[in-house]
Assembly symmetry: C2
Homo-oligomer: 192 residues x 2
Amino acid sequence: MQLPPLVQTFVLHFGEMGSRWGINRTVGQIYAVLFVAERPLNADEIVERLGVSRSNVSMGLKELQAWNLVRLQHVPGDRRDYFATPEDIWQIVRTLVEERKKREIDPTLTLLRELLMQEAATEAEQHAQVRLGEMHDLFELFAGWYADVRRLDTDRLVQLLTLGSKVQKVLDMKDRLTSLPGRLGGRTAKRG
Amino acid sequence: MQLPPLVQTFVLHFGEMGSRWGINRTVGQIYAVLFVAERPLNADEIVERLGVSRSNVSMGLKELQAWNLVRLQHVPGDRRDYFATPEDIWQIVRTLVEERKKREIDPTLTLLRELLMQEAATEAEQHAQVRLGEMHDLFELFAGWYADVRRLDTDRLVQLLTLGSKVQKVLDMKDRLTSLPGRLGGRTAKRG
DNA sequence: TAGCAATTTCAGAAATTTCTGAAAAGTCGA
DNA sequence: TCGACTTTTCAGAAATTTCTGAAATTGCTA
């Protein structure tokens, strides 16, 4: 691995974290290298810096592009593909929110819907369906939340996160000023 | 695997999703079985339903307890340990928020702090530090957000998620009624 | 302390994921 | 169309993670 110490530490850490974020080590490292790079890099430059195989970098870049976490660019007079992370760090947040929804929420929501349509034969299944109903409502709430957050522009996103401990106060305020639709406590919001 | 079809489908799916959520298949399946169960189950009952080894269930339960996702109970006159998922599904949300922070945010935040303390020798390292500074601020914002959300009671949590497409409106409202601390756009909020 | 029931530990087996090298496919200018 | 350069694919190797069975440990009762 051919990197200044400070950068190397960051890249290695990001590689390890990758596995906790659903991407593999090399993909995490590639992202990290591109994130701190002063200019777009081509695949061979990444190979050089990380000391992994060319094919591994190729696959990693493909995955990062699928996640919309890196952008393909071209340098005039150079046929090779160059890659960079989007300049706006907030774009990353929006991307991650979107991908998480797609990978972690939506598939389960689809399955839960199907299971709730089925006829429960036994008593055990009936009880299970009640529980699955609760989970369905929870996931649906999350799906909506993620979808909404994704649509926020950067300023609003920053605001939302900066609210911090004031979330409580703002919710109180909202409470006073608007009427809430439907029932909320206990069983989560009722479907259909 | 000894389960009614509907439950089996759910359990298998949850096992697969587990890997996307940073837990392994069996751990996901154990959680799923407990979630739909009508009463607390002991380890052997879980072994029976899932068809995995006793030791695997033991380790899985240990991990779920570490995550605070299952609770150990005792049945009078029975020496065995019984396990159940907390009755309040919103407790799960709070738990997951907390664990995500602990596993995904905090370690990176710590590292970034350290790297920002270091003296940058080269120009490349100086540029890297600027980028790491941006990432640090982002992670700090997230850490604060997670910490705040974790503290919300169930009603507020439901409210927050139910806001849905009204997030934008509420932020506008907040904008008008309160003064915002510090700078927000462009470079994320400045440190110390 | 012995004897039994339950749980935990852990080394190695099995399964899965990641990575590589070699070959194939794509792209461009002449 | 050829040839040089670049990227992609993919079968098998390597690494990692998960799972198991056997043994050790814990805890209880007598």
